[in-house]
């Protein structure tokens, strides 16, 4: 049902901007606040989520004819749990450093509501390729959010970015503490909404002008 290329790019961008899981849907705030103390963690978490999202979306999209509608939520949970376990094991085995810093949060991906939401809203109803695009979009949207929050918190809290010393001193240790996660998420949401308002205004102005 989605044929032309434009709609694919729309699906992809939708995940990043219109339906950004953190800034627009405000879902999965627990890891966004808990894990995003630095940019690296944000990036790693983003990759893990991206992987889980893609695998789960593909699985559900392939299996959609076999899933009984009454037990779809348990099926989603099971699917996600499987892929999360796989991620967890792989990380522990081959990326011990990343595993150490992500800790328990990898296992928490199971209950990320936006993954379940995407499975129910999109993957269940669409063929494989659009589901893949959507999953990639959502995953990148989440990753984008995590990197942004992590970057701000790392820069403001430790004065570094990805571990490299940028400022040379620690500006505000507060940003490393969990409470600041809410502050940063709130501010980012505000900025996100503000830019979107301006963007829409411009768009409207352009459409009326033309």
């Amino acid at each position: 049902m989605l044929e032309d290329k434009k709609s694919y790019s729309n699906i992809f961008l939708n995940g990043i901007f219109n339906d950004n899981p953190i800034f627009r849907l405000a879902l999965s705030m627990c890891p966004a606040v808990g894990i995003s103390t630095n940019m690296m963690n944000g990036l790693l978490m983003g990759i893990a989520v991206l992987f889980v999202q893609i695998c789960s979306s593909l699985t559900i999209s392939l299996m959609k004819n076999f899933i009984h509608p009454r037990i779809r939520i348990p099926t989603y949970t099971l699917t996600i749990a499987t892929w999360v376990t796989v991620t967890d094991l792989v990380l522990a085995a081959f990326f011990p450093v990343a595993y150490k810093s992500l800790g328990i949060f990898v296992r928490l991906i199971v209950v990320f509501c936006f993954i379940t939401m995407r499975l129910d809203v999109f993957a269940r109803k669409n063929p494989v390729f659009p589901s893949l695009v959507d999953a990639v979009g959502m995953g990148f949207g989440f990753m984008f959010g995590m990197i942004a929050i992590g970057g701000v918190r790392e820069l403001m809290g430790m004065g570094t970015l990805l571990g490299y010393d940028i400022l040379g001193f620690r500006p505000l240790l507060f940003f490393v503490l969990p409470a600041s996660g809410f502050f940063v998420v709130g501010f980012m949401m505000a900025i996100f909404n503000y830019t979107e308002t301006i963007y829409n205004q411009r768009k409207r102005a352009r459409s009326t002008a033309s």
Partner: protein
Amino acid sequence: MKEIIKITVGLTMTCLIAAAIMGGVFIVTAKAKKHNEYVNFQENMLKLLGFDENKPAPEALQLCTVFRYLVHQDKKTSLGYMLPVQASDATDDITYQLVLVDIQGQFIAKYDLAILLAQATDEKDREKAITAVLTGNNNTIEYADQFIVAKNGDQRLAYLLPGKTPGFKTHINFMMAMDATYSIVGLQILEHQEDPGLGAEIEQEYFKNQFTGKDVERLKTLKVIKEPLPDEQLRFLERTKWINNEFSDDDLATLQKKYQPKDICAITGATISSVAVLNGVKNVATKFVYRVKVLENIISKQNISVAF
């Protein structure tokens, strides 16, 4: 009815498939995971002994772990030490002997265990080996703790003691190294949940290194004092951070001597964490020294050819 069967079958199938995938991945990754954990542990130990990339550990370095168990036999509790021993046959292998000691420190019995050094890292294997040799009814064993003896050839380098102490928030896991004269060689904080910027400073060199050089007698009277560190001592403590070590060996020796008897200066704003670490170190060290003396005594009396 048909519906229910359909759902049940569907769910079961899904579960089976999921289990299969997870199981497959587990098989693939289990070995690597275990290896990672071991490497991690090993690294920490080597760091404590003062070896790193610049100063690699010598070939002959060997780490022998001594496990301590609480053995309950017929309502009587004794301490069971799993000692690594030189195998009686001609091979160079190291195997284990279980030595039972009562609470007063008197020798009870010793058994040969059918377990090799490499196998001993696995808890299940150890327990299996111990229960195999124990006689009597109602035997239960309970893991208590372990310490590691690092030896370089015939020379005993250090004892590595893992420990745990209640910190400001949760437990602080640490590992310390004591040399053969029972003075502290190094301290490493493995895991903690202290406040960043405050209690988390226990990870810093300037705090940890204050413990080096303190012997067990000094440890018993060691206190945490609320005084700022003198500048010279601070630089001395953080010397490893400097790329070109500005202290000569003579300097180091004199400084070491100068600051050896000093009490531990608390981290500013985190006295509780400082005290917690000190108490943990004290606790582990004093108990260990008492136990190891008992053990040495028994070893020499019973002529156990220990591997350390």
